[in-house]
């Protein structure tokens, strides 16, 4: 068996290394701008002083009561249980805000330590999957734009990512531990709840039941620890949040969007003079075509699930988990960093998996490029920067990313869906239906583990 650090699969010997080099160069450019200019470039967050505040704002409510009534958060209680030991309580006595970030050196250390832990686990995971692409894929997942954005925000996606990786990756052998991590990942980011159904479609009933129970158990345990975060509180806050986000949006919502929801909202609202700039034809066309495009890919994912239900043995579980995550992430805007979850599972796919797989892998590299292509300058403001502890001249640009990036995410989902349907179609054509009784001895749902002894 040949070993080495370069892929040996025809064109892929060069494609993945070159794309990884492009990710390295764009990431290096962003860091160079931070060192020279004092702030990270677009599409990193547009307020230079707000660095890491997803971590420290949440930490305040981990050390103080009122997360669900005063802050009206949507985070399940696990977020506060997680952050409490990882941040220094005496720094959170007055009010949530930037002073806590200055005070809490332990919190800064643990946040970056968690990022490094993710690198460790990601490297080991990809070394287990395919040693020849491990270097490039693990580098791009860990140092690509989505994960750097999560680090810049200090977002709990980093914790969710760890659980997602351990729950769906090959590192852990214990099924119970993996189910626990799946449950924790869903508790960290509720929109991942659809990933449970990947197991049901694959007829892995024990996994489906175990992971579902794990979600419930983790929620109940952390709810008991925090003493707040009842389902009623979370639903009330969710309804209030949905009402607030249904208001007309600003162009800042486009900043690092992964869906067309902000674009359509901007086209149909009066908050930005898009009608004057682009004309009514453009607005009407965009408002019609973009939702149509999104709904088409959602339909493709549903069809892929139906196909996988017919022939679960030809579709890997991680792909169904990825598609289930994709359908949530293309339907509602959850932040640009969620792309780290999509690229992670897309990179589980082998390059030889087919044309659709190759398109998805290359697209995953492209969405990991740090930076954007600017269409035009909007305005420049003087901000107080945090990372440079001084002033920053920050220029806001209208960029191509918010229009292109959602299309790339849709392309990944569509490619994986088409590949799934093609694999099922090919299996049906070659094998027909004669062996479809092969699942007759499967465990039926909710039996408590008793095998089905019924004969066909």
């Amino acid at each position: 068996m040949k070993t080495g650090w370069l892929p040996d699969d025809g064109a892929n010997r060069w494609i993945e290394p070159l794309l990884a080099l492009a990710v390295l160069l764009t990431g290096g450019y962003a860091i160079a701008l931070l060192l020279v200019r004092g702030g990270l470039p677009q599409p990193f967050f547009y307020q230079s002083f707000d660095v890491w505040m997803d971590w420290f704002n949440t930490a305040f409510w981990a050390h103080n009561p009122g997360a669900y009534d005063a802050w009206a958060t949507l985070y399940p209680p696990i977020s506060f249980v997680y952050l409490k030991p990882l941040t220094w309580g005496p720094c959170y006595v007055a009010n949530e805000g930037w002073y806590s970030r200055d005070c809490d050196l332990w919190g800064r250390f643990t946040m970056h330590g968690w990022f490094v832990l993710n690198i460790f686990l990601t490297g080991l995971t990809f070394l287990k999957i395919d040693r020849r692409t491990a270097l490039f894929r693990s580098f791009v997942v860990c140092a690509g734009m989505p994960m750097l954005d999560a680090l810049e925000r200090g977002n709990l996606l980093m914790a969710c990512y760890t659980c997602y990786l351990l729950g769906h990756g090959p590192l852990l052998k214990s099924a119970r531990l993996r189910m626990l991590f799946v449950g924790m990942s869903i508790n960290f980011k509720i929109y991942l709840v659809g990933t449970l159904f990947a197991y049901a479609v694959r007829r892995r009933w024990r996994w489906f039941e175990g992971a579902t129970l794990s979600v419930i158990a983790v929620y109940v345990a952390t709810w008991a620890m925090v003493g707040a975060g009842t389902p009623k509180e979370i639903i009330t806050n969710l309804v209030a949040w949905a009402g607030a986000t249904s208001q007309p949006s600003s162009f800042l919502d486009l900043w690092y969007a992964t869906t067309y929801v902000p674009v359509v909202s901007l086209l149909t609202s009066q908050s930005f003079p898009i009608l004057e700039l682009g004309g009514s034809d453009l607005v009407e066309l965009g408002a019609m075509l973009l939702p149509l495009l999104t709904h088409s890919v959602q339909g493709l994912i549903v069809l892929a699930f139906v196909a996988a239900w017919l022939r679960p043995e030809v579709v890997p579980t991680y792909r169904l988990v990825n598609l289930a995550g994709c359908i949530a992430m293309i339907t509602s805007e959850a932040g640009g960093y969620v792309q780290a979850l999509i690229t992670l599972l897309t990179f589980f796919e082998p390059w030889r998996g087919g044309r659709g797989i190759r398109i998805a892998i290359v697209t995953a590299y492209i969405v990991s490029l740090s930076g954007d292509i600017y269409l035009g300058r909007l305005f420049t403001v003087l901000q107080g920067g945090f990372l440079n502890s001084g002033p920053v001249f920050y220029t806001y640009h209208m960029a191509i990313g918010p229009f292109l990036r959602p299309a790339l995410i849709l392309l990944i989902a569509a490619s994986l869906s088409c590949t799934t349907m093609r694999a099922v179609w090919r299996d049906i054509r070659t094998q027909g239906w004669k062996d479809r009784w092969r699942f007759r001895r499967d465990l039926p749902l909710l039996t408590g583990g008793a095998p089905n002894t019924e004969t066909a």
Binding site: Y99, H112, L117, F120, L124, L127, G384, N388
Partner: protein
């Protein structure tokens, strides 16, 4: 070796274990280097100066 005990694994299994152990050490070295890079970037960017208070 059909009756090999866990203390005496097959050569293939032993190689896999050794490789996994080497991978863990490699990743520890990588993570140490990344930690140094992060610290250097934050230091030279100026993040260790307390800017708010």
């Amino acid at each position: 070796m059909p009756f090999a005990s866990p203390e005496d694994p097959s050569p293939a299994k032993r190689n896999a274990r050794n490789r996994h152990a080497r991978d863990i050490w490699d990743m520890i070295v990588v993570c140490a280097l990344v930690s140094i890079v992060i610290a250097i970037v934050l230091y030279f960017a100026g993040a260790f100066r307390l800017s708010t208070g």
